[in-house]
Point group: C2
């Protein structure tokens, strides 16, 4: 497994290893969700590239950029076992050199949900992913369904800018009690951690209601809000039942509708989602 | 020479013809300046792709999008003679399908000069060029020095977004009296056409002064403005002596400084430039 920090080294190794390439972009502090992406990429491609980069342009000024957890030694061990061939761990000024000034903006689908709470977040995500696409030139790129709006934004960007890359989305990996795996779960105290499965419970309750015939999207949002309200440590940012392509809030939830929510528990901001009828 | 309209056809032909590719993006109504780009691309690459697309996102609401001259039959004849292998002439909705919403914005270098007069112009240019880069995946892309700020913007974008493409800039091709070739020259009446060489005369006077030792940039701007003021049909938009990378106006013009100007003559908006000491 090659571990490099410069763009030039990524390009050189990319050229030397012929065949198809899968890319897994990450911010490090890897968990089983990331490793599932790497294993899927290894199964579907001749070679797998992984980036580990805590991308400053996707953090707001009051967000957790400096606190974001890091453990590069452990990450590299896990990536070796999972089958990565090339890991790029650039310093910030290799990605954003002095004078950097170009940004990729996706408009409509970045406005609601996470975008409403984090107004410059997806501009940073789309920009760094466009750069990763150009640095690695992969055949396929792998993203987790956990960041559902990120998936929508990246699919839209890849389609709009004609990137010749297949976007592959992998299912959420959960703890035994249902909590979606996230690097930010480490922020939770034991008491907060015990409260966190309320997110998935709320989603499952709404999905169960949908399966029982409740397709009124407002009612599904009420069901999620009701379950979260019973958890005193949870401060709800949004509950949503939206179109999975446009992210517009629905009145009637057809199969494929995206149920999602964002909740603060202590200093952690947690998100989760399910697609109904899938 | 293949002439196609869909992205899928460009990609298919791009794959079928092995070897290096040069790309020449154009808005059609080709003149000798465009053909010099195609010939240079043909000399430096195994294959040459050309796009002909009057890109609506780079025109402002009060600009000449619908009036922009078009002659696709003549363009194709000229491209065949010049050595193009593949010409892409997409309809607007192949480039911007319904729901399109992604834009590439280059920030600092798009603010002065053309960007001050045309605030959304370079966002449209950067976006369509990023798309062309992804559709054609060329090894090299060719642009004319006539659109000097466009060259600066595209170089900045290609560097910032890590496009693995060499940006090649070709000299301005001029009429015998010095007027820079431009598709928009057709807007000029005979009387206006006779006035138009004032642009190049102004640039040459400033360049001659620089060669004689006048490196005060304010004085060089005065020299250009003075010559243009003597031409009653010319309405000056700007005269500039700027850093060729950042486009910041200079106080002292070192070798490589970019002298540029924009002038309205009748309904034509003409631009031209020279680099001093090159």
């Amino acid at each position: 497994m090659h571990v490099v920090s410069s763009v030039a080294d990524v390009r050189r190794i990319r050229r030397e290893l012929a065949g198809s390439w899968g890319l897994v972009p990450t911010m490090g502090f890897l968990h089983a969700g990331h490793l599932a992406l790497v294993e899927r990429a290894a199964a579907e491609n001749d070679h797998v590239g992984v980036s580990i980069f805590v991308n400053p342009t996707q953090f707001g000024p009051a967000e957790d950029l400096t606190a974001y957890p890091r453990d590069i030694g452990r990450d590299l061990e896990l990536l070796r076992e999972a089958g990565a061939d090339l890991v790029w761990t650039p310093p910030v000024d290799e990605v954003y050199p002095p004078g950097y000034q170009t940004y990729v903006a996706v408009e409509e689908v970045t406005k609601p949900l996470e975008g409403a709470a984090r107004p410059t977040h997806f501009r940073g995500v789309a920009t760094v992913v466009a750069k990763l696409f150009n640095v690695f030139q992969p055949d396929r790129a792998y993203f987790g369904q956990k960041d559902a709006q990120q998936v929508v934004v990246i699919r839209q960007m890849a389609r709009d800018l004609d990137f010749p890359i297949e976007i592959v989305v992998c299912p959420i990996v959960r703890e035994p009690d249902g909590l979606a795996m996230s690097s930010r779960n480490i922020y939770l105290t034991p008491e907060q951690r015990a409260a966190a499965p309320a997110l998935y419970r709320a989603l499952c309750a709404a999905r169960d209601a949908w399966r029982s015939g409740e397709h009124d999207a407002g009612r599904l949002r009420q069901i999620m809000a009701g379950i979260l309200a019973a958890e005193t440590l949870a401060e709800v940012e949004y509950v949503s039942a939206a179109d999975p392509i446009t992210l517009v809030e629905l009145e009637d939830a057809a199969a494929g509708a995206l149920l999602s929510l964002a909740v603060r528990i202590g200093r952690a901001r947690l998100i989760d989602n399910v697609l109904v009828g899938w």
